[in-house]
Amino acid sequence: MAAAGDVIALDRWDAAPPDVAAGTRLLQVEPRRWWLIGACAQTDTLTAQIGDTGALSPIGGGLTRATLTGAGWREVLTISGCFDVEDPRFGVGKIAATTLHHVPVWIAPTGDEMCEVYLANSYAPTLHELWSRSATGQGGPS
């Protein structure tokens, strides 16, 4: 788990998301909202590019990014969850806004054996402990 830091919320009210530089990830989290991950260096460029068609708001200061690696990450995320994380169609490029153990989270698969879970910093100790217990018992992901 680590501070996310580099997450910016992009809202556009009448246009598609802009092109972003290589290395920046774009995840659609709501019908008119995207998350730009790794785009902090492009903030000025993007602000100029979108003009009055949208707005950028940094949110990464309050987010923790948990990276789960190992074949069992999907199984671990079924614990105290309510989303079909085991659906094979839920893969790279998708993101799910859901809850785990009552905690609001965003789950973004980044590979067959890896995913990122974004959550508010304040909940990080709670989920970390839940996952630690699960991983210990099931030989699950790290």
Binding site: A55, G61, D84, V85, H102, N121, S122, Y123, A124, T126
Partner: protein
Amino acid sequence: MSGPSRIPGGAESTLRFRFDGVEYRARPGDTLAAALLANGVGRVARSFKYHRPRGVMAAGVEEPNALVTVGVGGRTEPNTRATDLYVYDGLVAVSQNRWPSLAFDLGAINGIAAPFLAAGFYYKTFFGPASRWMLYEKFIRRAAGMGKAPTAPDPDAYEHRAAFCDVLVVGGGAAGIAAARKAVAAGERVILVEQQRALSGSIEGVRMLTRTTASGLWDHGFATLAERLVEPGQTPTPGQPAQRLWHVRATRIVLATGAIERPLTFAGNDRPGVMLSQAVRSYIARFDVLPGERVVIATNNDDAYATADAIAAAGGEVVAILDSRASGPATHFPVFTDAVPLSTSGQTHHLASVKARVGAGTRRFDADLLAVSGGFTPVVHLHSQAGGKLDWREDLQAFVPGASPQAVSSVGAAAGEVPAIAATVAVLPDPKHSFIDFQNDVTASDLDLAWAEGYRSVEHLKRYTTLGMATDQGKTSNMAALAHLASVAGVTIPQAGLTTFRPPFTPLTLGALAGADGGGHAAPARRIALYDRHQRLNPLWQPLGLWHRPRAYPIGDETLHAAALREARAVRTTAGIVDVSTLAKFAVTGPDAAAFLEIVCATGVAKLAVGRGRYTFMLREDGMVMDDGTVWRIAETRYLLTSSTGGADRMEAHLSYAHHVLAPQLKVSVVAQQEHFAGIALAGPLSREILAALTGTEMPAHMGVAQAAIAGVPVLILAASYSGERAFEIYAEGHLAGPVWDALEVATRAAGGYPYGLEALEFLRIEKGHIVIGAEGDGRTTPHDLSLEKMLRKAGGFIGASGLTRPALAAADRAQLVGLTSDTPIPEGAMLIAHDGAPVEGHVTSAAGRVIGTGAVALGLLGGGRARLGDVLLASSPTRGQSARVTVTAPVFYDVEGTRYRE
């Protein structure tokens, strides 16, 4: 030799277990019931009310009699069905509801007192003088319940898991496996659930959950499954939970839950040695246990004849088959038609004889086991829980699944594929000893009594007699009871009615229901961004919703009050810093940001200059104050809106509603930044100098905005005061805020100040007369009630503006915000009354001592309060045993002119 025994040969009994202190051996795969029978133990329990000796009646979860307490210490599990418990090495079980022992139970005297313990006796104890009830109560409370809950904490972990599938198949018998195979062949995702350890056949391509019970079927294909990873009382593998509750969402559900065999009603039908016919076959086939050597079989259907074959094949003797019908299938065993059991006599662990009516006469058979079959009841519980209708099948004398509003279907025995039976009405010569509900000791005469006393509805009858209650929920008794009730009422069974099937199907442990939400995890704790910084100062932590925030930072032996007073006085005289990170914050951005804020905020926003801020509040649509905070114009089209900590989630939902429902046409972005920014408030007469020195920047005037850096970290500075002193809120990105706190703490201490917590924050804001949402803003107060009406935007157009026009909200006698002063402490929450016994006119919402000086101040809501300044009232709290004489004042006690925070 008589009674139950192990059939010679077979696997070695390698497991050791103890029952009532005696060590026995069992084979791997034995249930406790099978192992006890294999060891010749037929009496395993005492009944609930009359303490009658009871044995094993069934072989599955429907068992009403053989309940035991398993395990030791915190793993103790009472009321465990011996038929649903696999023996493990070291298992410890004890019988229940007996004293001093199962063999010699003083409670059995209740059998003599049976005339006084008939149906509804408990309710009848309510009649007569109350003093009598005080006498009865002791005995009734002591007698109530079966096993005893452990007092030691449960050491095990429990887990909740989510799963999704196209098809959920409940039941791993032949019908369930066939349904699962068909679904797999169609390429569907399948979950197959089975209560036992193993299925009756093999299948691939499904997620199989054995030792798992479908405990509930809810709406929209949602099912809860309880999985036992270890047996009751058993120690789990390290790191593994003891039980897991699955939350399954299925597109469709197939119920292959089988049927439950029904007992017959006759005198002594509850003795050890009376067993369901199919259970006898189960013990022979699954466990190599012969439940009796000399067996009488009583039946009203063909199925029990197979039991005769099984008994004979296992070496037992079939003494007689009593068939209530005029004829049965051909067999070489002695069959008596038009024959029913009348009574039994017994020994400790088995029967001695069976007396039967055969035709017009009676006959006695020497037998140690009576296998009974009164027909079969399809297990429709889950179907009914899912809202399905039930249809009556005359040939089965049973209800079967009818139409379902959900994608739920039943197959096999659960759908009614069970042997037909003869519908007979038994004449009971001894109804007082003919048990209908074994677990609750409800006899046929109890039902007759309830009927005679006027209980006509089956639901009333259930509650009056306790029929169908307790851990088995009447699985073996309901149909017999309905048949008896219908007979007494002279109606058909469907006309007699049916009680409601409710989850869970079998009892669940509280641990399984709680899952990971135990101990410190009963709710997720939210940790503030600067937690480590505070923890170094060893604060008193205060839960606030899910958050934990420092309440005060005592030094040495300081009490909470002393520490908070020192901290508050520092703010009044020098400076203090407080963590305000949990405040809600929203970035409101876009060309229509001001227009959006004027919908949400009841105060003016549009004329706010860039770099300036303003106090604001928001209303619900009914005109009540919902939340308050500040709004800041950071740039031409960018605003920052803050609101209360406790209302943060509510405000986020409210803003989303306003944005997406009320004003979707506006070009505005609303983004929650509650945790993006950590916040620190620096307050006190020296705060401006401290901050200017730290940033190298001149600080803005009150309600101004500045951008700067502290300790190299970019910060947003908002000149706002909650304490009544000159103050600044300093915001930095959450994960960068630590060094900012460090720098502010060092500088504040150097100036003679301290960090302060929520207690001092309360002292300061009460003295200044600021409202807080949850106390003064309690969801029932309008802006006028809180003296905020002058700030309302006259042009209207905000949420709640229409609601405020209701005449009742302008009534002069509404509860209005007032100040209260006293020479003695004012109890918070106290009611405001003219004198003892007078009507309540209001209440104290917040109270504190004066920060500097003596006496107490408080805020309160008082009927027509604004016109009552100078009144003297009593603030009385009977629950705390405290009261204070208070004087009604304006709700500001400090710096009324507001000069200090502008300095």
